[in-house]
């Protein structure tokens, strides 16, 4: 875990602690949104190629403990993990083609549901803002939407075909029920329920003709206001996209997303992860072992928003940075960023 400070106008990133436990690469992590405030110590989850999931909790000012190891469930790499908005449920997805849903009962985590359906590796999972929908995606090129029913039952409500390759990540929009997916086919797709609420369909594809990426898109993240998103790619760029927020929330049809700008020349290896903090800082994790921060350049005279590099932390890890995630905690000017 890391802490960032603003020192004499310059950002610095300091490693707080190196958390050991996993015996294979750590692919993903996620902060529990119900922790880190109101006296509840922050908690995050990590998942790994060692087939386990670990829960970490802050125990002191600069120290973290592993509170639980969820093992003997997934039979292959656990690729991604996500907490429900309430923080009560945890979804983990695996190369074993399953999605496991866990609930903390007493001191332990129990697997309360296993979702099957994908034909092969499941790569990402995301809960909708209301917590009533869950989305997964994988190498079978499909995106699945599940509805959460009482008693921890999950019904598949739609299997979305459209991507022509492996789908790397799914992410629900923070304030509307729009689902975004990004893929090995170089595109980002937006999915919405049709007018009748009968089924889901692709309402937009952001590809090369929209100034889109020219190689695998690995991840996407929304701005705090939800009217912008950043995507990262094997094409070594970050792209910022935007929409008309008013129209998006008005309910009068779909508000399309358009390309705002491309951040090129900052990365020389695949960008695996990106996350936009509540304070407006974009963090990227790349295959050159570095973490980089970007923010809007308010002083730029260029037409339209432009972004600048705030900080580059080389050798942040000994190997690729697979996942970067801002916590929701803000203590003065410190930010906690939890990498694998």
């Amino acid at each position: 875990s890391w802490e960032m400070d603003l020192v004499e106008g310059r950002f610095e990133l300091k490693e707080i602690q190196r958390l050991e436990g996993h015996t294979d690469r750590v692919w993903s992590l996620a902060w529990n949104p119900a922790t880190g405030s109101a006296g509840i110590p922050p908690v995050f989850v990590s998942c790994s190629g060692d087939r386990t999931v670990r829960i970490w909790q802050q125990s002191g000012l600069q120290s973290w403990d592993c509170k639980a190891v969820l093992e003997e469930k997934h039979t292959q790499t656990v690729r991604s993990c996500a907490w429900s908005p309430s923080g009560k449920l945890l979804a983990t997805v695996s190369f074993d083609a399953t999605t496991a849903v866990w609930e903390q009962i007493g001191g332990d985590f129990e697997c309360v549901s296993t979702l099957e359906g994908h034909e092969n590796e499941v790569k990402s999972v995301s809960w909708s803002a209301s917590g009533s929908l869950l989305a997964t995606c994988g190498r079978d090129k499909s995106v699945w939407i599940w509805e959460v029913q009482p008693g921890n039952e999950f019904d598949c409500v739609s299997v979305l075909q459209g991507h022509t390759q492996d789908v790397k990540m799914v992410q629900w929009h923070p304030s509307t029920d729009l689902l975004f997916s990004c893929s090995y086919d170089n595109t980002i797709k937006v999915w919405a329920e049709d007018g009748d609420g009968e089924d889901w369909q692709c309402v937009q594809t952001l590809g090369e003709s929209n100034n889109g990426h020219t190689s695998t898109v690995w991840a996407l993240s929304f701005s705090p206001s939800g009217d912008k998103m950043v995507t990262c790619s094997d094409d070594l760029t970050l792209k910022i996209w935007g929409t008309n927020a008013q129209r998006m929330h008005s309910g009068n049809g779909y508000a399309p997303w358009t390309h705002i700008c491309t951040l090129a020349g900052y990365h020389d290896r695949t960008i695996l992860s990106v996350h936009w903090s509540r304070e407006g800082i974009i963090a990227s994790g790349a295959a050159d072992d570095a973490i980089r921060f970007f923010a809007e350049d308010k002083e730029s005279s260029v037409d339209g928003p432009s972004y600048k590099l705030l900080l580059k932390k080389e050798k942040a890890h000994d190997m690729d940075v697979n996942s970067v995630q801002w916590s929701c905690m803000v203590r003065c000017t410190s930010y906690n960023l939890g990498p694998p």
Partner: protein, 175 residues
């Protein structure tokens, strides 16, 4: 196994003068010996000759291997004789597994699968950026894209059948 094209005369360019190396190779060594990589490629070539009717590697030479020790980057290019994506991918996976133990962990390895000159439909702009051996250019072959996608490689190596094939390839010929 019947194969589409039989390359009766695969070309293996003669290695430049070989320097005797000690048997004692430590992964922690900072010096990366391109000859070592060449040995691995050559062994894979010989392996494919010994168990198959022909080799999948047509052109193999020291130019296939580029090392930048300062940046910690390695680029390996090989050319399969047969335009059969799945076999090129298996060879590439064998390379990845074998090479993982050969270098310090911070070294990044990129693998490029070049189509042969007769594969018109797959040739494209094979521009390389020499400054950092970027292979992030248009028209990369499907096996290249796959072999440089760490997630696809990791998942492929968790497939028991594929893993067994890769292990046989690596261990049976004492690479």
């Amino acid at each position: 196994m019947t194969l589409g094209l039989i390359n009766a005369n695969p070309v293996v360019h003669a290695k430049k003068e070989r320097i005797a190396r000690s048997e004692d190779v430590h992964p922690a060594d900072d010096a990366v010996d391109p000859l070592e990589i060449y040995d691995i490629l050559l062994s894979l070539y010989l392996f494919s000759l010994s168990i198959l009717d022909c080799s999948f590697l047509s052109v193999l030479s020291e130019e296939s291997i580029t090392v930048d020790e300062k940046l910690g980057r390695i680029l390996i290019t090989f050319t399969p004789t047969i335009q059969h994506c799945s076999m090129a991918t298996v060879i590439g996976l064998c390379l990845r597994v074998k090479l993982k133990d050969c270098f310090p962990p911070h070294f990044k390895v990129d693998i490029k699968v070049s189509p042969g000159s007769h594969a018109n439909e797959e040739s494209g702009n094979w521009k390389l950026e020499p400054s950092f051996f970027s292979i992030h250019v248009a028209s990369l072959s499907p096996p290249t894209i796959l072999l440089n996608d760490k997630e696809r490689v990791a998942a492929a190596l968790e497939n028991p059948n594929l893993r067994q094939l890769v292990d046989e390839c690596i261990y049976s010929n004492e690479l």
